[in-house]
């Protein structure tokens, strides 16, 4: 199958590659760029394990063709840490609040939460739950993911994180 040349900015770096028109963005990221932090859980846009940030929006990279991302700016989990290499507020929140278990949904969940907090820096619990409802988790039951995002929001806003009362 004839290949098409694509260029995009991924995690701040200009990249290029030859892809088939049918190549999925997630396969381009994982197999060509070797950015394996973005995972595949369903290939039908339901689970969100493949969520990446594309031109400022959360998208599920299993149902975007690489050619559709030509010229786009993409951020994956590999770019979420602080510039000095320490865990970002979100990453730290997930660890401190036990917002992950097997870790498979975590990259998509963090990338999605990253965008959610850009859109709404101070979401309440219902807004967080709705905001991450495109991302499935089989391990945590979401409760600690919600707390992780609340922790991060507080830290980013310079506020004190209050543990939700049990």
């Amino acid at each position: 199958m004839a290949k098409i040349h694509v260029t995009m900015k991924v995690n701040g770096a200009e990249v290029e590659g030859l892809v088939e028109p049918r190549t999925l963005l997630v396969h381009f990221l994982r197999e060509t760029l070797l950015l394996t932090g973005t995972h595949i859980g369903c290939e039908t846009t339901h689970c969100g394990a493949c969520t990446v940030d594309l031109d400022g929006a959360s998208v599920k990279s299993c149902t975007v063709f690489a050619v559709q991302a030509n010229g786009a700016e993409i951020a994956t989990i590999e770019s979420m840490a602080n510039p000095d290499g320490t865990l970002s507020a979100l990453q730290e929140g997930f660890r401190m609040m036990h917002g992950l278990q097997c870790g498979y949904c975590t990259p998509g969940m963090i990338v999605r939460a990253h965008r959610l907090l850009k859109e709404n820096p101070n979401p309440d619990e219902a807004e967080i739950r709705f905001g991450i409802s495109g991302n499935l988790c089989r391990c945590t039951g979401y409760q600690n993911i919600v707390r992780a995002i609340q922790y991060a929001a507080a830290k980013i806003n310079g506020a004190q994180f209050k543990e939700a009362a049990e």
């Binding site: 088939e20 049918r22 190549t23 396969h27 994982r30 197999e31 070797l34 950015l35 394996t36 932090g37 973005t38 995972h39 595949i40 859980g41 369903c42 290939e43 039908t44 339901h46 689970c47 394990a49 994956t76 989990i77 590999e78 979420m80 840490a81 865990l87 990453q91 997930f94 660890r95 401190m96 036990h98 992950l100 278990q101 097997c102 870790g103 498979y104 949904c105 975590t106 990259p107 963090i110 967080i128 739950r129 709705f130 991450i132 409802s133 495109g134 991302n135 499935l136 988790c137 089989r138 391990c139 945590t140 039951g141 979401y142 409760q143 600690n144 993911i145 919600v146 049990e166």
Partner: protein, 806 residues
Amino acid sequence: MNDMTPTREQREARLEGMGCKRKRVEDIRFTQGKGNYVDDLKLPGMLHGDFVRSPHAHARVKAIRKDDALKVPGVLAVLTAEDLKGVNLAWMPTLAGDVQMVLADGKVLFQSQEVAFVVATDRYAADDGIAKVEVDYEPLPVVIDPFKAMDPDAPVLREDIKDKKDGAHGPRKHHNHIFEWTVGDKDLTDAAFRKAEVTIKELISYHRTHPSPLETCQCVCSFDKIKGELTIWGTFQAPHVIRTVVALIAKIPEHKIHVISPDIGGGFGNKVGAYPGYICSAVASIVTGKPVKWVEDRMENLTATSFARDYHMTTEVAATREGKVTGLRVHVLADHGAFDACADPSKWPAGFFNIVTGSYDFPTAYLAVDGIYTNKAPGGVAYRCSFRVTEAAYCIERAMDILAQKLGMDPAELRLRNFIKPEQFPYHSALGWEYDSGDYHTAMKKMMESVKYAELRQEQSAKRDAFRQGKTREIMGVGVSFFTEIVGAGPSKNCDILGIAMFDSCEIRLHPTGAGIARVGTKSTGQGHETTWAQIIASEIGIPADDIMVEEGNTDTAPYGLGTYGSRSTPVAGAAIAMAARKIKAKAQMIAAYKLEVHEDDLEWDIEGFRVKGLPEKSMSMKDICWAAYNSVPPGMEPGLEAVSYYDPPNMTYPFGAYICVMDIDVDTGVYKVRRFYALDDCGTRINPMIIEGQVHGGLTEAFAIAMGQEIRYDETGNVVTGSFMDFFMPTAVETPHWETDFTVTPSPHHPIGAKGVGESPNVGGVPAFSNAVNDAFSFLGSTHIQMPHDYWRNWRAAKGLGVVA
């Protein structure tokens, strides 16, 4: 002592040992996308394999034509059963003593069955090849309804064994019958029913569902022709068992097989068994001489790679008018699908379903299970439960509610009247188990006080009056569940997998500078073993948990273990870890005594090391003992500080819990709202409360999904109608209720650290709590039992059936 001297509490806290909410070691890599999952592996020259699957549930395979597929660019090979016969691998043995087709041999027996394996240079080319494989099918009549499978004129499904009168577990009664398994005293139980003042009888079905971890099943097989060695990276919950199975069926010497389970994206039982994808990838690698990757997609995972439950339990309870149970009789029709590939300990065709007497003191009980074949996917894995314990807990917990309803008694009160009493432990159940410990009354009462149970019932009563008066269209249910689990398989006297006793193991090696590595025979699929195993060691030998690296999943380095499933890691491997640590501690004591020039008996343990009794300033830390172990051990002693333990547990452990669900249902729409869910778990000693709580949240969410809608459903022609996440209920953060957790602690008397295992309790106890809430809501309208799953439509249908909706 100056003010800077740390207190005992501070010293213990620095170790981050047992009881500490230690943050997880794993999270550093997982939160940065640096986990190492199977599909992340990319080897030079690696090929991809993918399956041609059957669209039919039952059909004769008349011909498979591969020529056009082999012309597709990138396609290198198409394997069929005929090819596998050359290496005697067209069929493979199952864990349950049956055999299973690896690729369709003459016929297909369920929709999505593996028919051919296309090997290509990449996954897209493999898909192109699949589209070009032509298969001629001749459809055959299908058997989907398990109650029709043993009709005299039912189609013969398994022609390969149609004349076999005996299966792996005794005589077969019919060509679609697999086994009959009976436990208990039938005569005594029948007599109890004849004398009973009150009896109930109900068909309680637990529908077919699927564990569906977010990462599907996958592997990479790489055969080195020069060395004759096969390396398999795979999503294996039990890597050592996979190595042994491969050695037995592929005839490769076991030391030349390297099985590696890297990070695994959830298991929940799905990744215990051996699936055709593993066999075909290994054969393809041997044939091509290149690494072959197989990654199933979600639809393949849901429709072909195993299933859970599908138990149809006709349940009878005998009791006195005062509500004392006197007998239990259960018959199970167990739908195993096309092959009996249940992942149970080999001698247990129905797993530990004989825990069905639950938390109650039944003087007698009788259980019979008939396993049958249908045109459905094989598997029967324990979806976050210990081998059919979830089915058993659902059965008895529904039955107790049905009995309470018949007696006009409160379901919590009925349970309290029948609990095994604390002084009865160790308790011998009527169906053969020895419960190690329990304090059910305390747990139940704590739950009832915490949720103000009496007030809930008053509110319900008022709401029912309001409903009757037409003032509301909402009904309220209070679902009580009190479960007893049986986990930690298991003692070699009654548990094995293909003849290998179900012990587990740990090797600890301490380095000169006081840090070390622990290798364990289990495999975390999200439970956080790298964190918690180090906590056990920290408490046992006084080395900070941060200084212990935990490694699992590599069969070349880890001692042989039976893996992680059935909540067995803590009861079995957790014990092995403590025992290995204690061996190290014993040697350390000898070294310390030598260095401190005292007798061993003059030493006592003091958090991080030994000190001389009565002379607390004379002490030696474990860190210093490590150094001494490598340069100045007592004369005659071998240097070094390491130990291995293989732990054969003397008994199972029996975690228990009291759960309650409060739910409101709108009868006109069937829409339910979980108002409150409270879960009290007693898993004995608690190693990491943060992780326990997380496990409970996750298990409850799975229970919620199963009880309220998650189902693998077939239409009458054998099509799977819930084969994607669009149709198969996977709760999002929006639907998932808020969870309240609580605990009591009743340590296991036989476990070295008193721990019992917890990962599966919330699934086991949660399902009956949800289902009892729905059934309790409808009970005042004259309903006795409504089958799961309780989705909106079925709730509405139940309301309509009860005449409260036009």
